[in-house]
Structure formats: C-alpha cells, structure tokens
C-alpha cells in the first residue's frame, strides 16, 4: 500500500462530471507529474484532493495515513500533512504574511492557543523564515505585506513554495506552479522544491506544460484527458508530450508555454 492512494476518484462541479475515475498511488520520496490539456480535469483534481467546497465528490476514496481524507475538512487534511500550492493564490487583505505563516505553522503543530510548548518561538520562526527566504531569492520586505496583496505573479508562486517550505508537508500538490512565471522564478521555485525532495516528501506536480519538469525531474508522468488517465510512465512520457503535445488525444494545441517577460 502506497503512502498516498487515490482510488477511482470521481468528482463534479455544478452537476457536471469532471473526474471520471482517477487512480494514483504516490509514495513519499517520489515526484509524480499529472499533465493534461485544458479542461481535462487537472484543477478539479487538485481542488478535490484538498477539499474545496465547490467540488462534489461522486465516488472513490483518497487514503492517507489510514484515513479517507475526502471525509475531512481542508484544515484537517493540511494538519495531516497535505499541502496545495495554488495556481491562483488568494488575496486576504489586512493580514500580514508573517502573521499568516506563523498562524499556519502553529496550526500545523497543533497549537490551539493553550499548550504553549507547541507554539513556535519567535527565534525559531525567524531563523526558519530567513533560510527559506534566501533559497527563494525573496527579501524581508515581503513579510509585512498582506497575504498575496499586490504580489506579482512570480512573488505569489514563490510565496506558495515558501509556505510549503515552512509547513513541511508529506504530500505536496503543486497546481500549475509554473504558469505565469518567468524563467528565473521557475528556477528559484524548482531549486526550493528540489531541496525539499527526499524520503519524507511525496510531490504531485499538476501542469499543462513540460517546462517545469526540466527543472523538477519527475519519477512518473501521467496524462489526464477528459477526467481519466490515458497514459502513465516514466520521464519519457513528458519527452513524448514535448514533441507531439496532446494531439494523439484529439487536442491540437501546441505544447509551448506562453511567453512571460
């Protein structure tokens, strides 16, 4: 039994069936990529795994640490060790990134305002932040800013990876993390993710394009078309897609990323 198992997952949005039976086993230490054309169900997969209320589970289960996480609230999934790096990080005005990161880290550690021993100390928090900011080539000035408020595309995505580095999940889902990123940002993000790779982390990269996979080498690549996997294999699957795109599944769009200045 794998560390994280998606079994025959079916999900719909506003009554429309999107995921039509997705099965995938991820072990810690592995990096899986899910690739697919627009409308194939990639973001439905990421949102359903994390428990977004707008997505309805129609069947299947997701087993992590002996529990079916589909029965859990998003915060419970996060505290269990799951993480979603958002394609479109959400703006929350009035709350500083520092406050947010500290609150999230305390929550992850099970601090509920009572048992002070679980609370992150200011010193520990500062040194943790400092190290991770360096890896992501970010400076302190972003910490007092409100959550994602006025962030550039690159800043938002780096901030997502920073959160991941701070929270240290065991299963991380990176949803289109490369979209809207310039090449430098992709490199910094990839460097940070690669540093976290290891026996304690399983990664699921969801992407339309192969570009990010040049920097974060996947162990397995799965092709999602119309809510189902149509092809699974090793890194060579990505190479094949690089050449032919999704044309063999009827999608004629070229597999070139949008140019980002």
């Amino acid at each position: 039994m794998a560390d994280f198992e998606i079994r025959d997952l079916r999900a719909s949005v506003e009554g429309k069936e999107i995921l039509k039976g997705v099965t995938l086993a991820i072990n810690k230490g592995e990096v899986h990529a899910v690739m697919g054309p627009n409308g194939s169900g990639k973001s439905t997969l990421s949102h359903t795994l994390m428990g977004h209320p707008g997505y309805t589970v129609d069947g299947g289960e997701v087993i992590f640490k002996g529990q079916n996480v589909l029965a859990l609230q998003p915060d419970e999934r996060a505290r269990l060790g799951m993480f979603l790096a958002f394609q479109y990080p959400v703006v929350v005005p009035g709350i500083s990134m520092t406050n947010f990161l500290r609150t999230a880290l305390n929550a992850k550690r099970g601090y509920d305002g009572k048992d002070k021993s679980k609370q992150v100390t200011p010193k520990e928090f500062r040194s943790l932040l400092k190290g991770e900011l360096e890896v992501l080539h970010m400076d302190d000035s972003f910490l007092p800013r409100y959550i994602n408020d006025g962030f550039s595309g690159g800043e938002k995505k780096r901030a997502e990876i920073l959160q991941m580095a701070i929270l240290k999940p065991e299963i991380a889902i990176l949803d289109e993390t490369d979209s809207g990123l310039d090449i430098d940002s992709i490199k910094f993000v990839a460097e940070a993710v690669n540093r976290m790779r290891g026996p304690e982390l399983g990664v699921l990269i969801i992407t339309h394009y192969t570009r990010i996979l040049e920097f974060i080498k996947p162990d397995y690549v799965h092709v999602l078309v119309d809510g189902k996997f149509v092809l699974s294999g090793g890194p060579e699957v990505a190479e094949r897609l690089e050449k032919t795109g999704y044309s063999e599944w009827g999608d004629t769009e070229e597999l070139k990323p949008e140019e980002v200045a």
């Binding site: 209320p53 959400v90 005005p93 009035g94 947010f100 929550a107 992850k108």
Partner: protein, 469 residues
C-alpha cells in the same frame, strides 16, 4: 491569616491623591425623571444656580422633543424605570457574584486582572491606578493642561467651563442630548493651552473615580490654538451595567491649527441602548479625528460629527461596528462644511454576524460658502452569514460650487475562496474567519495604540467564537 495593614490617608487625601471617599449622604436613589429629581441631582453636586437652571430647561426640552422616527427602534425604552443618578456608594453595592455568567466568563478569557474586572463591572472603583494618575497629573499641570472629571471642572474652573459647555451640542439638538443635559454626571474635561502638545494619550482609565463610566457622562474638550491631544475612552472588556440606557454627550472645540483625536472602544453588555451625541467644531486649519469602535450593546446610535467652521479645517471619522445576534449598530458620521477649502473623510467598517444588523448612516452637508471643499465617504460591510443584514443611508446636501464629493460602498461576504485558502494551510474555519474579520478592520486597528489593537483583535476572536454576549 495575613492582616492587611491599614493605611492612614489623612484628611488631605483629596488634594494628595485626587480621589474622593464617598460621603454618606442621606439620599435614596429613585427611579424616573421629574424636576424634583433633577434639582436633587444638582443640589447633591452643589452646583451653581446656572447649571441647575440649565438642567431644568433641558428637562423641559427633553419632554417636548419627540423620539427620533428614524434609525433603530427605541420604543421599548421606559424612561420612568431608570435611575438617573446613583452615588458611587450605591453603584458599588453590587457584588461580583451578581454579574451575569457570560460577562464573568469574558473577563476570564480576556485575562482582565481582578481589580480591573470589578471596576469594569461597576463593582468597585479601581484605586490602584491612582498612583499612575497622580504622576501624570503633575506632568500635565506643569504644562497648564487640565484633565479632570467634568463635575470637578465645573467646580474648579467655572469660567472656562461656562464659556464652552453646551456650545457645541445645545440641549435642543436632539431628545437624548436634552436628556443628558438634564441629568449628566461624570465624563472627562480637558483643556489644552495654546501650542501645547500632549504626547501621551489621555485615558479616562487613568482618571479613576466611580463616576467616570456613568450612564449620562458629559465630556468637554477644548484644544487651544496649535495644540494637540489624543483622548481615549473605554476599553475592550465588556462594560456591565444593570441600567439599560447609556446616553452620553461629547463636545469638542478644536481651535486654529490644533489637532484632536478622540478614540473610543466600547463594548457594552447586550442589554444596553447606547445613544451618544458626539460633535466637534474645527476652526481654521484645525484637524478633528474620531476613531470610534462599537461592539456590544443591544442598539447603538452614534454619528460623530465635525463642523468645519473655517478655511482649512479637516475632519475624519473612522469607525467600526460589530453586530452579533439580536444587536443593531446604527452608526456613521456627519461632516458639516461651513467654510471654503475644508476637507473630510468618513470610513466606516461594519461586520454583521448571526442575524445582527449594521447600518451606516452619514450626512455630508456643504453650505454655499464651502467652495473648494472635499469629502470622501467609504463604507464597507462584511456579512458573515445569510441571516445578517447591512444597510447604507448616505445623505448628501451640497449647496456649494466647485466641491468634490465621493462615496464608495461595498458589501461583501467572507469568501469561500479566502476561507479555503487559509484552511488549506491547517487553520481552522473559525480561526480563518476571525483572521478575515481582523484583516477587514485592520485599517481601523492600525490607528489604535498597540495594546488596544491587541485587545480588539482578541475580542473579535471571542465574538467570532460566539462566546461573548
């Protein structure tokens, strides 16, 4: 068993420590309102005749004035069933055990020290603060600043008092200002001389006296030319009173080039009708800032206003209202532009939860002389659920040419996307909602002194858990 050493405060305690030991008058508090009770109040306080007459005239006006026919429903107030004046000793006769359990629980959770709780609850006065107050007083006295309770000011500074009292808010302004004028007691009196800047905020909290959280307190602040003062009233712990009506009057005069900031954070227990008239006159190049936080109470009606009397005057209102179950917060602000080149802003933030109702009610008036004036109003409402309600009632009267008037209103709900985002990081739904609310009022919180900001955030947290009121 330890014995408490008895301290002999001597006979000069009043001058030395600035407080009164309540004297035992033969006075039995009575409910209801009539000229005899008003005369008795005035006699008890040994007031000059002009004040007795002022009170009696105000009582007449109160009787003639109709209840406001707009805003919240006030028909349930029974004016005959209220104590209009209680001596400190009567107020202290309550015991800690008599307090409702929710109020006691809130003090526990806020971590309010025992002595302070009793004070807030009206159980006893907090003489511990006298020392702080005393050293502050010395500093102020050196600069010629007067900071005292309003009753003492009438006695000790009669000319200054008479010159300004009732000039900003006359008794006939509205039914509740008339009521306050008839039965007022307590409140703060501040005079800041020309060009004096009081760098630390003055807090009613320092000026301890059992009267200072009265139901009908009357505050008068005079900022002479070029001066500055920041006055803070209230605190975030709920103020418990068995009496259901709080009707204060606050008058402020800000002279040429002076600046006054008046910060209120009040959290009345949910049986209270909180009906307050606050108004400032700002003269040439003067600035008046109202920072007003309203939590608690059953009904609050409060619209701090600034009369911009001379060119260059500036007025600001920044307010926050939180309405939970069964509560109606009807708040806003008024800016009356009388002179040219005057500017004003009103920023109102309201939060409604569990069927609570918030209303923004604002009035911008620009008289013909107010040319080249500017006003901007922004009201944002946050609804936490479908049962809650928020309304906006902006009234604009513009009779001047070449003026700018902006109004922006938003109503939003705590968004699913924001909640999902925060929860996906392990933060519970309740804590995520609290963060979003605290983020929403952050433009307000950042204007508060740090300790108040922290307390306000904690209080919002308690309100969000539904454990308050």
């Amino acid at each position: 068993m330890a014995t408490v050493p008895k301290v002999d405060v001597g006979t000069d305690y009043k001058e030395k420590y600035g407080f009164f030991v309540p004297e035992e008058y033969v006075f039995k508090a009575k409910r209801g309102l009539n000229p005899d009770i008003v005369k008795e109040i005035s006699w008890m306080k040994q007031e000059p005749e002009w004040m007795t007459k002022f009170r009696l005239r105000s009582l007449e006006i109160f009787r003639k004035k109709p209840m406001p026919n707009w805003g919240a429903d006030l028909s349930v107030i029974d004016f005959e069933n209220i104590f209009y004046y209680l001596k400190a000793s009567d107020k202290q006769s309550k015991s800690w055990e008599d307090l409702p359990p929710d109020i006691k629980a809130t003090y526990d959770r806020l971590g309010v020290p025992e002595a302070e709780r009793k004070f807030l609850a009206g159980v006893s006065a907090q003489y511990e603060s006298e020392v702080v107050y005393h050293s502050l007083q010395e500093e102020l006295t050196k600069k010629g600043v007067i900071f005292t309770d309003t009753d003492s000011a009438l006695r000790d500074h009669p000319d200054l008092f008479k010159e300004y009292f009732g000039t900003v808010i006359p008794p006939a302004d509205n039914k509740f200002s008339a009521l306050n004028s008839a039965v007022w007691s307590g409140g703060s009196f501040i005079y800041v001389p020309k060009d004096v800047r009081v760098e630390i905020p003055l807090q009613a909290y320092f000026r301890i006296n059992a009267e200072n959280m009265g139901q009908f307190e009357r505050t008068l602040i005079i900022c002479d030319e070029g001066s500055f003062v920041h006055y803070i009233e209230g605190c975030t712990a709920p103020i418990y009173t068995t009496d259901s009506l709080h009707s204060a009057v606050v008058e402020i005069i800000v002279k040429r080039g002076a600046r006054c900031r008046y910060t209120t954070i009040q959290n009345w227990s949910t049986n209270v009708f909180n009906l307050v008239t606050k108004r400032a006159m700002a003269y040439a190049d003067a600035t008046m800032e109202w920072v007003d936080g309203n939590l608690g109470s059953q009904i609050t009606m409060k619209y701090p206003s600034v009369y911009l009397m001379e060119p260059g005057a500036k007025g600001d209102v920044l307010s926050v209202a939180f309405a939970g179950k069964g509560q109606h917060q009807d708040a806003g602000g008024k800016m009356i532009h009388v002179a040219p080149n005057t500017t004003s802003t009103i920023t109102s933030k309201s939060i409604s939860k569990a069927g609570g109702r918030t209303s923004y009610r604002g009035h911008i008036k620009m008289y013909p002389d107010a040319k080249n004036s500017k006003s901007f109003v922004k009201c944002d409402a946050l609804l936490l659920d479908d049962e809650s309600r928020s309304d906006t009632y902006p009234y604009n009267d513009v009779d001047a040419e070449n003026v700018t008037l902006g109004h922006e209103a938003t109503v939003s709900k705590v968004s699913d996307e924001q909640l999902f985002y925060l929860m996906s990081r392990g933060i519970t739904r309740n804590e995520a909602e609290t963060m979003i609310v605290n983020g929403f009022i952050e433009p307000f919180t950042k204007e508060l002194p740090l300790e108040y900001a922290v307390e306000l955030n904690r209080l919002i947290q308690l309100e969000m858990e539904g454990s308050v009121g």
